[in-house]
Symmetry: D2
Subunit: 338 residues, 4 copies
């Protein structure tokens, strides 16, 4: 932390700032220029982040140098985090594609989709049993019945499953079924939920909030990691901007940026990021070309009657075409996809 | 709902759309132009919102006419909602000012602030016992001890209290102490929490999410109202935009817009909306001039050592000046403030 | 400027940075902490802003301390800038209200409006002769004929006029008629145009761009000021955000922020900032309550047939009501309006 | 255009709307539902866009069906636009990479860069002679001297050149040198400039404004096309959002969306879209994977002393590596790059 004093700060004002820092056990280092005095705080001063030195008389600006996340940082853990979910390796050179319907609607819908995405090459099955819907009058998911259908589809296909958990008290129940917890965009800063999944040892996919900065997102991952659960996947799914021609704006820059800043696996969700099935394939390819470790994609056998997100769901045959395209693309960007 | 067919849609395509609508029990009305056929759906078609008629062959565009919220709408309830909280009337001509520290830090800090804001004219006390913090390493609030201090400050001053609840399982505990539940910005779309407070009969202040549209915000209110809890206050607290010179961007337009669209009381939070204490007073006056029913403001006796949000907290003497300014302003915009 | 070196920066790397700074004639001041070395650059280092010290080996971060605008800054010119336009004082305690149609459409439309707004208390007439339209097929304004009608309306009513100039080569022509040049939002960073009006001695109203930060806006004002034209009004007219329920988002925070940062007069445009006539009056009151020096408002006798911006134009009788409201509001916020 | 009347609109109100439409020569088609009357306007009603039917009594909503751009639309011109610039084909299967320094700084800097990018496989040279800078005190470019150096570099390497034009009166001068006019992001809605380049027959690269929607961008292209200049390239270069970890947010969705909506060639600028050289290569690959026809990339032999945009410039050796990566990628996404 660097504290820049105002042009005409008095010696007394400088002294007060110095003593306010030192009372917390930090050393300071003064740099007296012709116009301004600069006070450097020596050491890891993250614990001081709440202290409003900006408000002390004579202070012009406080510059925080250290990034506020630690466990999620590559400084702390230089190698990529790689982990296994029922035989599927996440974060390694092999790309991982998770696919399935937005919501589990029925046994036949789920099983038909599960077999189709497996056939096309997906290695994990997605499907929502609890759906966060902006309207209380919309279909909210099948609940535990949906979880049971997911488990049945896993048994039938061998695909591990990922499904969303929406509240701390549902963590135990959902955890009995799922192989990966999905934390949805609206819950990126639902800290009680983050703490609850941090207490489990089930992997977590943390989706980016519509308005979450990359730094805030990593701070949310830090909540999970600091609970002792180190198996966290970050999933870019589009942010909210002024552009309304697409449902969200896929922040493709975030993918290589995350790869610099963190060791955690990075995925992309081209379905939510575009909101339009015609854009899903090009967005998926861009995500992989930008360096992501995998994708999560909505597939529905009959999108026009889907109970949610039909407009952004691929039909199985289009998903199969995309998988073929990705198989051509993967080696051109140093990855594999079998 | 209006379904616009493409230029060259065939009779068969039109027939399919019509039958897909009618199978749900709705009537349709066809308008055959020279270039396009337009299919109007007759009646309250909100239940059809999940149906992706956009995906049927030959469809160009689907236009939804009805706003998706009902109970929150002025169409449904033309008069202003007015209710009483321990003798304080919310939503009436008298402005209501809630004030207090961001976080309850200690008995002396809270009591000193409570007496000061009462003295200055505030009629309700705010203070956080559970704090949503972006870092797991930051001060997270005093928890139930904080709630007890709030109850003690209420006893000492007679001011009703408002405090934040962050998870569904905390609703019962917080509800034993607070007079109004505050739902924070990060939880605007935490549907499990909205449903939980909707089941109580304690009033709720629902803050706008950093990225929530006004329509989404009213849909979140709808979650509470549809649980049978009709005492909901909407609080504009700034949205996230590209401008970083202030912590958030106060969406002042939202205040008169809400007054048109909904019967619920509308408040503003100039502390979070600006993030800078020097801007709190002008923002507070703008909020009242735009037609809000009240304010919630952060006051701290020693902002420079506050454990959270010091930079945006007013000192008691500045808060008292602002109250004086508001007393002059209120009658000029048709309100009272005693 | 402060240059923060990386944790393990070598003495050679530090030496290179120091010599790269000193070669430009600046002194440096080293602060050697236990973990990092910090290099302070002594003096007004704004001329170094293009130098990418970030890219030198061993550099972690470069922190620029000084705001990049000078002539627009209150540091440079502590008192408010106040100037006179044909007898109307801009920037003083008396509020100034400019009103008139978005576009000059005809002699009768303009004269009818001019008389009506004068009657209601406006002291300046606005009207566009050249209109920036997003479509090349839309009405683009009457051009010089419109300028002549504005001059005629000024003669008839005594109201000074303000009109938009859209390109450098039009500055001479528009300048022969107008009392104030308006630079529209889309041209906030049209530097050739800013330089052209900076060479004149006619006052300029510089509207904020839809996506201009407050700092960039002041840098654009700096282009005009640095040409020697010191009569610049800043006009907040709404920024673009994710919210689409209103045409733009009025950044009300910007008004008190500008009053802190700059000595230039600050106006607000509630018509563009909301895009809806029903919201214009509350937004106008909020702008004044936040501390602005004046308003510019669209008034049209027949908004439903206006050739542009009808939806946000007030009818003369509603404008007169608003002026009455503002006369009550002004003294409550320390201003006058006669 | 569809005009939706309010629930209780009277026959007289409906009649007024109908006659207001028909007076402009359009036919109407009424659809009388149980709750609402809907009035369809028959024919190409784009000329009615200024008419504020929303303001007529009894009108609830006006829905515009037609996209406002015509010449830029794929409906109007289904095949891809392909054109030749001094032997380089734009818009065909072969990818085009334009590269060079942000600003022309000196003869040696430009020639060194030009030879290096040609060597690496670029087929066009970029370089700014006139630079739009947010500060009037920053380096503004070499002006005509810069244009002469560009022409010299073209002679030396055979690479056609692209350079920015910033004002209508500079079009003639810049046009004597350049092979493609670049319109910068800040000028996307500088209509006088768009009209001026629309009068020439020199190809134009139109960059997206920081806050321009895809639809507005195509309307700006329409200004150029409607002047008779059909050789327009659209270049996505990042939009402004709340995320500040990167300079801009690359809207990768816009690339496939444009490919659907328009026949014009689409490029991407990974330098401005990221603002950080470390992110340029992954962003460039994503742009190509998403379906763009080419790239424009900043390359500088000594970024640390560049007079502008050093932080986002690639060194020649890194640019050569990227070109190798793109040669592997191109065939995997159905393109060629020699």
């Amino acid at each position: 932390m660097i504290i820049v004093m105002k042009h005409r700060a008095t010696a007394a004002e400088i002294g007060t700032v110095v003593s306010q820092v030192e009372v917390h056990g930090y050393k300071t280092h003064l740099s007296q220029g012709t116009e301004r005095t600069i006070i450097g705080v020596v050491g890891d001063d993250r614990p001081l982040e709440n202290h409003q030195f900006e408000l002390l008389p004579g202070v012009e600006q406080v510059v925080r140098i250290l990034k506020p996340f630690k466990l999620a940082s590559r400084d702390f853990h230089p190698e990529n985090t790689i982990f296994d979910v029922r035989g599927v390796t996440i974060g390694g050179p092999e790309l991982v594609v998770m696919a399935g319907p937005c919501a589990v609607e029925s046994r036949s819908q789920l099983l038909e989709t599960a077999h189709a995405v497996k056939e096309a090459g997906a290695t994990m099955l997605r499907g929502g049993a609890y759906k966060p819907r902006s309207s209380p009058y919309s279909f909210q998911g099948l609940g535990e019945d949906g979880l049971e259908l997911l488990a049945e589809a896993r048994d039938a296909t061998g695909l591990p499953i990922i499904t969303e958990v929406m509240s701390p008290e549902a963590v135990a129940l959902v955890g009995r079924y799922t192989d990966i917890f999905q934390i949805g965009a609206r819950n990126m800063q639902n800290y009680a939920l983050l703490q609850a999944v941090g207490q489990t040892r089930t992997p977590v996919m943390l989706k980016r909030g519509l308005m979450g900065t990359v730094q805030e997102w990593l701070m949310s991952a830090e909540y999970i990691l600091s609970g002792g659960n180190y198996q966290v996947i970050l999933c870019e799914r589009g942010i909210r901007t002024f552009e309304t021609a697409t449902r969200n704006t896929l922040d493709i820059n975030a993918i290589p940026l995350l790869k610099q800043w963190t060791h955690l696996p990075v995925f992309g969700d081209p379905s939510h990021a575009t909101g339009k099935w015609e854009l899903v394939a090009p967005a998926a390819k861009a995500i992989i070309a930008a360096g992501a470790d995998g994708l999560i994609i909505e597939v529905h056998p009959h999108p026009e009657v889907a109970l949610s997100d039909g407009a952004q769901s691929l039909k199985p045959e289009r998903f199969a075409e995309l998988m073929n395209d990705l198989r051509r693309l993967a080696p051109a960007v140093g990855r594999t996809l079998s």
